[in-house]
Symmetry: C3
Subunit: 309 residues, 3 copies
């Protein structure tokens, strides 16, 4: 990783992605030790600045930081001086002035982490900004795929199913998959597809059932119930009927196909419980790899060049 | 402790209880040192998963974990993805996938910690489930009693006063006291007694004043104000008149009687302020012992067999 | 520092202030190291007990405690048993019984930290009580001034501008500035001046524009929007017109004048954005010094006499 920040998958490029994933592999080994910690970032402070609550993402980053022996602090919107109307800029400059090394930012507005990066000297990691990007999710997904399919993802057929239009997971994921040579097909109703696909290295299908038999990976996105009130979805029931991965559809998958989901899952909506818990699902592996990948990202940004372990 | 979890006092039995209490005694000594920490659980991670907020219980467990050099993480309902409708099972499996060693669970539903234990490989400690059990509270209460009355509790007369019907503290406490030979009498209005007492090794009284002179221990339960709206209590005033421990009643206790309360106290309702702060009260000792007992429980479940200190 | 607590600037006196500031200077050096931590308070536990949320003050104290290697715990009102109606006294006695060494208290009632100090043996630091005091803010402000103006503040002309009436920052600041020989003028509309100034070593002005050219320091207080509904302010627009520090007014300041603000700032109300970010502003230095000063305070109260670093 050349830069000081991880704001987008674009910051990494193919080489940068591979470097992080190699490093993540060694940190995955660390997390399996009797004492799963290394002193790599001792004395560093990592702050999570979450303007949208996401306990799972926050805990994953904080666990990663602690396993590297960094100190962690949490700054969540509900309990922050945001309520007092302080600007994002003043908040991050205040946090930086306390003496911190990295800020992990989650924000509802696309581009917020980029603005934060322009204001401070500490490293910034984008932990999800609006409908824009979520680069560490893409990295952990790649890491999980490579564990099952080997380092070369060329020609791997990945179907990303659901509300692609509003999904930062999909945006970062497509870039990262394409960088490693996978072929992505986006699947979902037209109302949940991006308005323009110019520049997206993907194909599109509105029929899950035709895509199903050839997919190596089915990547299911979380359906937000509020899409119904926005008239983008007729009903959850209808969505599930056409795009939900139930046991019948799962039976038509290739024997070695993988089922992935960024979580939290809506069981019974985009994925049936028995599929979520079934043998093709690697959902909990994704979570485990998330900690190792975030260790690699934090170490790449903050490590002083010493040995990792 | 033989098992991987502490879900109920039943998991321990008399021998298990005594083992934990002996261990707690040595940890109590640790907490009095200039640097009250031991490296016993270094590299282990303990997560508190509280679906009902209880800062005092959560802090007690987290203090215990930190004094054992474990890392701690907090996952409370208000800030969790529970709001997004994620199932308890997905939440705990996600937490476990991040690489943790124990989950301390507080939940409004009886049996929730048992379900959690069936889903994950990490150790589970029940920190209170509905009206069911709160085993570490029972252990810290026993520890406090033994400090004052010696190791043998045979024949000790303990009056448990108040809303026994809804009390997990009472349920765990009665089992633990009986296991060590104490005699328990439940005291309170009929509406606040359990519907069936089959299998409870207790007697029942509806008159505090008749029980008072013979009790070695008066264990007062917290009155929830919402019991009034449920028509289980005529009024707090009337409850206090009949079952509150005021100075006049305290004066009728045996000179060496102990007054206990699990906290937080409703001063002026189940206990008068002057009694809460009086010489018979061991309420703050209960809190202190709570940390030592929880250190013992966490160490019993997670310790690798090395020396404690 | 002679006492066990820091409740008011009065606890320190001139000598005590100078001692803390000297110590803060050496801790500021610590915070600039590659690993900005010292083991000075290893094994000590510092609890922040915030009945009013203030993430910036809480994080500053917790960062200070962590850089001294103390353990930290947070007890904020939203998540505390305060909601269950527990008294302040029972809450602090419970926290103390878990075995802690210092409590950092923020409370809406003037005098609350003093009451806490009367109930427990642990050290108490006042992190802001009602409209009364906020002593560590005053100390960090002095530290910032001395960095720019040298150790001797005699004759320094400091204008404190805004809602002095409701400001604990002003109350502590005036005492501390006077103790070191600075001359303070309070500036603001009559409705926002204290009802009585008896005993305050200050002068008063209702015209910022006449004070401006001679001030060495302009200390702007945060305007609470709720003062409008209390009829203490005609409108924010009018306040800004008369007392806001905009670019035109800033241009009339002495070339070496400093602009200070305790944060969080209302940009466009008491201070214009370009002034907040301009060369005279030392707002982020105040934040940085806050961590060093709080390290000095915690070390003075809890340090065992060993060497600091």
């Amino acid at each position: 990783m050349s830069g000081r920040h991880l704001l987008s998958v674009d910051d990494l490029g193919r080489e940068g992605i591979l470097e992080v994933l190699d490093l993540a592999e060694s940190f995955l080994e660390v997390t399996r030790r009797e004492i799963p910690k290394v002193p790599a970032l001792r004395g560093k402070t990592v702050v999570s600045l979450f303007y949208e609550e996401s306990t799972r993402t926050r805990l994953s980053f904080e666990t990663a930081a602690k396993r590297l022996s960094a100190d962690t602090m949490s700054f969540t919107v509900g309990s922050s001086s945001v309520a007092k109307g302080e600007s994002l800029r003043d908040t991050v400059q205040t946090i930086e002035a306390m003496g911190i090394d990295a800020v992990v930012v989650r924000h509802a507005s696309a581009g917020a982490p980029h603005r934060v990066a322009s204001w401070i000297h500490a490293s910034v990691v984008n932990a999800g900004d609006g409908c824009h990007e979520h680069p560490t999710q893409a990295l952990l997904d790649l890491h999980t795929l490579r564990h099952h399919r080997g380092p070369d993802l060329h020609g791997l057929r990945v179907a990303v199913v659901g509300d692609v239009r509003h999904s930062r997971v999909a945006r970062s994921g497509v870039k990262a998959l394409a960088a490693l040579g996978a072929e992505v097909v986006l699947v979902g109703p037209p109302t949940l597809m991006p308005e323009s696909l110019e520049g997206w290295p993907v194909t599109v299908s509105h029929e899950l059932d035709t895509v199903l038999p050839d997919a190596d990976v089915l990547y299911l996105l979380r359906i937000q119930r509020e899409r119904q009130s926005e008239a983008l979805l007729p009903s959850l029931r209808e969505y599930t009927a056409r795009y939900g991965l139930d046991a019948a559809r799962a039976a038509r998958l290739r024997p070695d196909a993988l089922v992935m989901h960024p979580g939290p899952m809506n069981r019974g909506v985009e994925i049936a419980a028995e599929v979520a818990d079934g043998p093709a699902s690697v959902v909990t592996e994704q979570v485990t790899n998330g900690v190792a990948v975030r260790m690699a990202v934090l170490y790449s940004l903050l490590g002083s060049g010493g040995t990792v372990a």
